[in-house]
Each structure stands twice: as C-alpha cells, then as structure tokens.
C-alpha cells in the first residue's frame, strides 16, 4: 500500500474520510430527526453517498494495482439503484400506517 504515488494515496485517503463522515452523518440524522418522514431522508442520501465513497476508493485502489474493478462497480450500481426504491416503499408503508408527521396528516390513499 505504501509504494503508491503520494497523490493516489491522498485521493484514496480523502475518499475514505469523506465516506466515513457521510455514513456517520446519515446515522446521526436517522437517530435525531423528529418524525419518520424526516428520518427517511438521512440514510437514503448520506449513507448511500458514504458507501459510494468507500466503493470509489476501493475502485481507485484496484485500478492502480492493475485490475479493472468490476465488482465494486456492480455493487455501486446496485446500491444506487435500489436505495430510492426501498425508500419509496418505506414511505408508502409509513403513509399506510399513518405515521405521525410534523408536516400535517398524510394524504388519503387513493387505492
């Protein structure tokens, strides 16, 4: 790991630190926001970005060591596609269960 050029090392380190901060911010937001619909925001944005940062760092590392890094790309694409889907399904479930919201009552379901 130490034989890499210093700029590559700096790039990987910056990506890793940013990813850790994003993951932590997502978890703190999920813990601290007052109602469910606000809590839904923090993990779906910040934590997805955090995982994206970790995978990007891993991708850069495998690029400079010669391989292509398809695995990381697969995981990144999968996570970035599925995060909004699961968030939407969870929001639907919460609306159906009439979770209390600071923004007023949830709209009445049409079907």
């Amino acid at each position: 790991m130490d034989e890499l050029h210093w700029s590559v090392q700096a790039l990987i380190s910056v990506l890793l630190v940013a990813a850790g901060v994003f993951a932590l911010v997502g978890a703190v937001g999920m813990l601290r926001f007052p109602d469910f619909f606000m809590r839904l925001h923090a993990p779906t944005k910040a934590t997805t970005l955090g995982v994206g940062g970790v995978l990007l760092a891993s991708m850069v590392m495998s690029w400079v060591s010669g391989s292509f890094g398809v695995h990381e790309l697969l995981i990144t694409i999968f996570l970035f596609v599925t995060a909004p889907i699961s968030a939407s399904l969870l929001a639907k479930a919460a609306i159906h269960l009439r979770s209390p919201s600071k923004a007023g009552d949830a709209p009445v379901e049409t079907r």
């Binding site: 850790g20 932590l24 813990l31």
Partner: protein
C-alpha cells in the same frame, strides 16, 4: 496515510452501526425499525469492502454483493408486509 484513513473510516462506520442499532431497538414504530435495518445492511456492505481493502484481497466483494442483494430483498419484503399485510399476493 491510507492506513490512517482506513482506521478513521472503520471507526466512523462502526459508530454508525451502533447508532443504527440504537434506532432499531428504540424505534417507536415498525417502519423506523425497517429503516434502521436497511441502513444497517448498507453500512455493513461498506464495512466488508473496507475489510477487503485492509486485507488486500478481492475475496470479500462477492460477500458484499450478496449482503446488498439479500438486504434489498429483505427491505422490500418487510415494507410490502407493512403496507399490504402480506408479502406476495
């Protein structure tokens, strides 16, 4: 430098896992718990990838991909169950 950044990322994601577990235990309603589980598995994917970087092996990527797939299936099944009452109609 990379080792230091890896340690920092391990610490942050470990702390994030603890906070997710706190929300999972405390969560006032069922959707909160499902959301906590969702965030938990996303963080575990990051942790497994970090472990692969630390140990300099590409063996863990399949594990990370599997965790991501099964976690998504679990989240979809649980939220379908909460909103419809059963998983497959």
């Amino acid at each position: 430098m990379i080792d230091l950044a890896l340690d920092f990322a391990f610490g942050c994601i470990g702390l994030a896992l603890v906070l997710c577990t706190w929300r999972l235990v405390r969560g006032p309603e069922a959707p909160d718990r499902v959301l906590a589980l969702d965030t938990l598995y996303v963080n575990v994917v990051a942790l497994v990838v970090l472990l692969g970087m630390r140990l300099q092996t590409s063996l863990f990527f399949e594990a990370a991909l599997l965790i991501a797939l099964l976690g998504f299936a679990g989240t979809v099944a649980l939220s379908r169950y909460l909103s419809r009452g059963d998983v497959i109609e």
